[in-house]
């Protein structure tokens, strides 16, 4: 592992994005538009204050999942991944390089959408704003790690895109945003408890209602961080230097 290879990879991924300003614009603007739309739809009701913050965590999760699964699939199919794996770069450098590049983008995205929600749309959050951005960043990294993992199981970009409804939507349905997790039938509650997005949304909900950084939030974030490490480790195992 070497910081030089990690940072070179980060710079390279950011360079690729720089040549694709439309993707950057979509990444930054779409969450802002959606959160504004949500505030408008629920204008005059308490709903926006309840689900606004959790959604600030869901957007980066979804977006990074999609971007990473397609980007990694392109590395696999274009032969660049095979070339890299014949060169002096550790798999971890490759993964961390991507994580850092997309993490920077996720922080920008979260900061922009959170600022808009708090200062313009009047989202009422008891906890500190930096915690919103931190949870959003972890959600983005979780989406990235899962996207990287599933890209190993996709042979084409069509398949990679289909993993979004397959992997992300069930987590969205069960994460407690539509129906509070405690009100779910026992079986679904059990499934919900092993899905990482549930903990990400729980953490955001706690930030919404509590002004202190309590053990609950920390516990949720530890679970999310554990899932990130697990998915990245499994993802690293799918990067093979030797192939059939």
């Amino acid at each position: 592992m070497s910081p030089r290879a990690t940072l070179a990879t980060t710079r390279r991924v950011l360079g690729q994005l720089r040549h694709d300003p439309r993707t950057i614009a979509l990444l930054l603007v779409v969450p802002c538009v959606l959160i504004s739309l949500l505030a408008w739809v629920y204008d005059g009701t308490p709903v926006f204050d309840r689900i606004g913050a959790p959604l600030l965590g869901v957007f980066p999760f979804v977006v990074m999942f999609l971007v990473t699964s397609v980007a990694t699939l392109r590395e696999r199919t274009s032969g660049t991944l095979e070339r890299l794996l014949t060169m002096p770069i550790a798999k971890l450098d490759f993964l961390l390089g991507y994580a850092l590049a997309f993490g920077i983008l996720a922080v920008l995205q979260a900061a922009l959408a959170s600022s808009l929600s708090l200062f313009v749309l009047g989202l009422d959050v008891a906890g500190p704003a930096w915690l919103l951005v931190l949870v959003a960043l972890l959600d983005a990294l979780l989406g990235m790690a899962l996207g990287l993992l599933v890209s190993a199981f996709a042979a084409t970009e069509f398949q990679a895109v289909q993993f979004l409804p397959a992997i992300v939507l069930p987590q969205f349905l069960l994460c407690g945003l539509l129906v509070p997790r405690d009100d779910l039938p026992g079986f679904l509650h059990g499934i919900s408890s092993v899905l990482p997005l549930s903990y990400a949304v729980d953490a955001m909900s706690t930030v919404t209602s509590s002004s202190t950084v309590g053990a609950g939030v920390v516990g949720d974030l530890v679970v999310v961080a554990g899932c990130i490490v697990l998915a990245l480790t499994l993802g690293a195992a799918t990067l093979r230097r030797r192939t059939p």
Binding site: R12, H19, S78, E82, T86, M87, P88, T243
Partner: protein, 252 residues
């Protein structure tokens, strides 16, 4: 510069190398050596196993049997990653980066010295395209970007899969001259081609067909042995000789 004492002047030594892909045998127990400091050509028709053999040498191919030693270490060893460079047949560079950005990235991974990027851009004749997006270049120019990346740093063995396909004859001549300069500096080059006339430019030849090595010789040795005037005729003569042998095996 080249450490080859372990294998007696050979950069690559393969013994009974066997590779299966998709349930089919692609390399049938092939044995060959690539002498250090030479430009060795790997020639044969499309689909004969050239790319699989090169992938094996670089260490990205899972092999089913036999032994393969590269620069004194087993193929695919971690210490070979900065000593062996590899160009795949399809350009493996980032289409959404410029030529310079691509090369700067690979140079950073190799820890190549400053100025190396400019050197390899000049070596493949892409100075006027250096600031363009790689995806906007022609197929042959994209292939040269991929080749330039393999020239970065100081690789001791360069494994080049069809690096001159689709190139202008002037550029093709210049690249072969570059390959020979590299060999004179002690580097070893293994270059594949399906164009038989490129064989004359190599110091050693490996002729392949259907996953087997037909000949491992110098161009002149091959012509003398087969009594032919050009490599294409020599290839045909070797194929005829081999098919009569295997035909006997089948009937026996």
């Amino acid at each position: 510069m080249v450490k080859n004492s372990e294998s007696g002047g050979a950069a690559v030594v393969a013994r009974e190398l066997r590779v299966d892909r998709g349930g089919r045998r692609v390399l049938h127990d092939v044995s060959f050596t690539v002498p250090s400091g030479t430009v060795s050509g790997l020639l044969g028709p499309s689909g004969c196993g050239k790319s699989t053999l090169m992938r094996s040498v670089v260490g990205v191919q899972i092999v089913a049997g036999g032994s393969l030693e590269v620069l004194g270490s087993p193929a695919g060893s971690a210490d070979l990653r900065s000593r062996v460079s590899y160009v795949t047949q399809a350009p493996s560079v980032y289409a959404d980066l410029t030529v310079l950005e691509n090369l700067r990235y690979f140079a950073a991974l190799l820890g190549a010295p400053r100025g190396d990027v400019e050197r390899v851009v000049a070596e493949v004749g892409l100075e006027s395209h250096a600031a363009l997006l790689t995806g906007s270049l022609s197929g042959g120019q994209g292939a040269r970007v991929s080749l330039a990346a393999a020239l970065l740093g100081t690789p001791e063995l360069l494994v080049l899969d069809e690096p001159t396909v689709g190139l202008d004859p002037v550029l093709r001549r210049d690249l072969w001259a570059l390959f020979h300069q590299l060999a004179e500096r002690g580097r070893t080059l293994l270059v594949s081609s399906h164009v038989m006339d490129e064989a004359q430019r190599c110091q050693r030849l490996l002729l392949m067909r259907d996953g087997r090595i037909l000949a491992d010789d110098t161009p002149s040795g091959l012509l003398a042995r087969t009594g032919t005037d050009d490599v294409e005729a020599a290839f045909l003569s070797m194929v005829d000789a081999q098919s009569s042998v295997t035909g006997n095996e089948v009937s026996a």
